[in-house]
């Protein structure tokens, strides 16, 4: 139960929109609850289940506005940038632009996001009310998405210098907006020639990241989803374990009914660019690409094929568009996807790209913001090199392990050859080793068959090793040695036992050497 609201999680998740707004208003007033409220910005939060997209936009926008009334939490800045980067609804963009101004310090790295938001919202803008939840203004108010963006550009002041030249080319706005824009670009503050150009390619302010990575050894393994069956765009069925192991994979999520061209449609188009880059670098057969639909019931093979074709996505054994055939929930859980639904329809999702390592485990993810194809390829290549390095280490380890086993075997053979056959012999050995205290070990006749067994195991391991290296003379030595030891033991022939031990040692060492 939430102490602030007095509601259980279930009650919280089924609130009406009006009650939700009241809850947000109350929660936002307490600085200690800011992080708790930020959790509600996650797309997969249960509070958004069974809501329409318009409702989700209202709810999320209201959270941003409410957080901005106090100190906007740094952990939520990425959500603001996400709306500016890809939202096409006026309310969402206006709320994000307004909330940005509540941050303690302007940063020049916000400027490209504001420019992008201005480009995105052109031709989709409308008057919005940020004063009361769910209000749709009747009269022309003084705010809309473009208006809020321009206010925030003004707030940036000279830090918006890097986008001045693009702003000068903007026209077609309403008279008042155009006036405001013209004033911004011609003001003395704007003419800061010393502002270094910001690389538009998604540089983020300090403390904000859209890239998450996991080192080898800390990655969640793919056992929970290994048996998940997919159907690809050609109707072929294949399991996760077969599809995503043996090499790194770039995986994106999308659905064909997404109505935001800056999300799913662009994601698949960019994945096609990734394919071209892999092809150019000769890596297309070593690094896979895959796009999995959030909407497997609707996105049949034919729809997947058509969608990919329209965006130049090349398909083949290494490159596929996929849907799950037995339920999407395990995949959603495994990848911790940022998606929610009304019935079977997606009502909200984030942009998300994953890089899987050669074992099918998630090594990296890019979230929320538009990603750079070159960066994705580099990350995938890192995974490829990681796989190659691991393979080399495994070979070395195998060689080492083989050598260790090869060394143990001969000692077992030695033990078998000279094992005391009776308590008197045992006593003789005990007196011989009395100096080192071994005379205290009681007679253990059971040890003899154990030594024989170990010797036979050594024989088998040497045989396997020689089979793999195609050099059998090591085995022949060990075999001859084993026969000699057994003959020496049974017929009490010390010379045979000794030569058997020498032969066993020699054969084991030869087999443990690295093949040419």
């Amino acid at each position: 139960m939430n102490e602030l609201t007095g509601l259980t999680t279930v009650e919280l998740d089924s609130l009406s929109e009006e009650a939700f707004a009241e809850f947000v208003d109350r929660t936002a007033q307490d600085p200690a609850q800011q992080e708790f409220l930020t959790e509600f910005l996650r797309e997969d939060h249960p509070v958004y289940r069974e809501r329409g997209t318009a409702a989700v936009i209202r709810m999320r926008g209201w959270i941003l506005i409410s957080l901005a009334k106090q100190q906007f939490p740094p952990s939520a800045v990425l959500y603001l940038l996400e709306e500016l980067d890809t939202a096409i609804h006026a309310y969402a963009v206006a709320a994000a632009a307004c909330a940005l101004r509540s941050l303690p310090k302007p940063d020049q790295l916000y400027a490209p996001f504001l420019l992008r938001a201005l480009t995105n919202i052109r031709y989709h803008d409308e008057s919005v009310s940020l004063e009361a939840y769910g209000e749709y203004p009747d009269e022309s108010t003084d705010t809309c998405a473009v208006g809020e963006i321009l206010k925030t550009i003004r707030w940036l002041g000279p830090l918006a210098g890097s986008i001045q030249s693009e702003l000068r080319n903007v026209n077609g706005l309403s008279i008042s907006e155009q006036k405001e824009l013209d004033h911004l670009v011609s003001s003395p503050q704007a003419a800061d020639q010393d502002t270094p150009p910001v690389d538009d390619c998604c540089q983020l302010p300090a403390g904000v990241s859209n890239l998450f990575t996991w080192m080898r050894g800390t990655r969640a393994d793919c056992t929970p989803v290994e048996q998940t069956v997919f159907e690809d765009q050609s109707g072929n069925l294949i399991r996760y374990g077969e599809l995503f192991t043996g090499g790194p994979t770039v995986v994106v999520f999308f659905y064909t009914r997404c109505d935001n061209p800056l999300k799913c449609s662009l994601t698949i188009t960019k994945l096609a660019h990734v394919q071209k880059e892999l092809e150019r670098r000769g890596l297309a057969s070593q690094i896979r690409t895959a796009a999995i639909t959030y909407d497997p019931e609707y996105d049949h093979a034919q729809r997947l094929a058509q969608y990919g074709k329209e965006r130049n996505f090349q398909t083949g054994a290494q490159h596929r568009l996929l849907r799950t055939v037995e339920g999407f929930e395990p995949i959603k859980k495994h990848f911790k996807l940022g998606v929610n639904y009304t019935r079977a329809l997606v009502n909200r999702h984030r942009i998300e790209v994953f890089i899987l390592d050669s074992a099918g485990a998630i090594a990296a993810s890019f979230e929320r913001l538009r990603w750079d194809e070159a960066e994705i390829v580099e990350k995938a290549v890192e995974m490829l090199h990681e796989a190659e390095t691991c393979a080399k280490k495994t070979d070395s380890t195998s060689v080492f392990q083989n050598r260790v086993f090869s060394a143990i075997g001969p000692f077992a053979a030695l033990g078998a050859a000279f094992f005391p056959k009776c308590p008197f012999c045992w006593a003789a050995y005990a007196s011989l080793f009395g100096v080192v205290g071994l005379e205290q070990i009681p007679f253990s006749p059971w040890l003899y068959p154990v030594l024989i067994l170990v010797m036979l195991i050594n024989l088998l391991s040497v045989w396997l090793r020689c089979q793999s290296t195609k050099k059998m003379y090591g085995f022949y030595f060990v075999f001859a040695g084993a026969v000699a030891i057994l003959a020496g033991s049974f017929w009490n022939l010390p010379l045979a036992a000794t030569s058997g031990v020498i032969s066993t040692f020699a054969g084991s060492l030869i087999s443990a050497l690295k093949p040419d």
Partner: protein, 291 residues
Amino acid sequence: MAKRKSAKKQTVKKSSQPSPAKLISTVTNDAVPEQERVQASRGASAAVLKDEAYFKKTMEVVLDQSQPASVRHACLQALEVASFQTIKFEKYRKDYILMMRKLARDSDPEIRFSALNTLSCEKDGYAQKRLLDGLKTPDKALVEPEVALQLLGNDVHAEVYSVARELVKKPPSEQVKTEALKLLAADSSASKIFEKVLLDKSENTENRQVSAAALHSIKPKSLYKHAASIVKDNSENDEIQATCLTALGNFFSDQDVKADADLVKGIQTLKKKGKTQVKKQATQFLKKFAE
């Protein structure tokens, strides 16, 4: 010479057309006869893009409920046409959307429908909220429920599926049920509803046809299975059999047909005994697969 004459004709033609200012003045002048104002408004869509003042004056006529209905309709249409020029219209869009939201509550039903239609195509949250409120509480309805469902169907992401399912279960009219079924075709978790309706011989033909179309979209294998059984059933409705034959004929594979010998026999019977529409579909099917 011929070129000069036609250029002269064009210049004469252009100069006989009233200027944008004259057009808007005619449209907004209460003293001008209604027919003339309606005629003038046909040219207003280009005029409003030239000057914000023209746009505002035309908008005022539309919003003024005391103006003759025909003039209001004509002006509204002119603004809707102008809105297609997205780039030039950008500076008017905010006021245009505000106007449409006001018109959604207008006393004129045709204007209400036109406004809600425009807003629904824009996937406007305000329009969706008002339409949904009207479905849940009939006193608040701005349009008939079947119309509300049609308009809400413009956005697959609208929060309408629960309401639509309720209306399929307890429809106030057959029209409403049909529209609710059409809307649910976007919800791939509704396949069981469509299977039930398709197989129910007591359902009206249109609903069964809508269900067949919906299944084709969201669960095609289920449609083909049921379509095959419907085609083989001699007691079935001709129109439904024709619909199923079309689905099978266009989307069934050779392998599927060869696997079902009874299906081919059933269709051959239909070709001999069925009514015209069914005979035609049966002939086409057999031509494609079995002959």
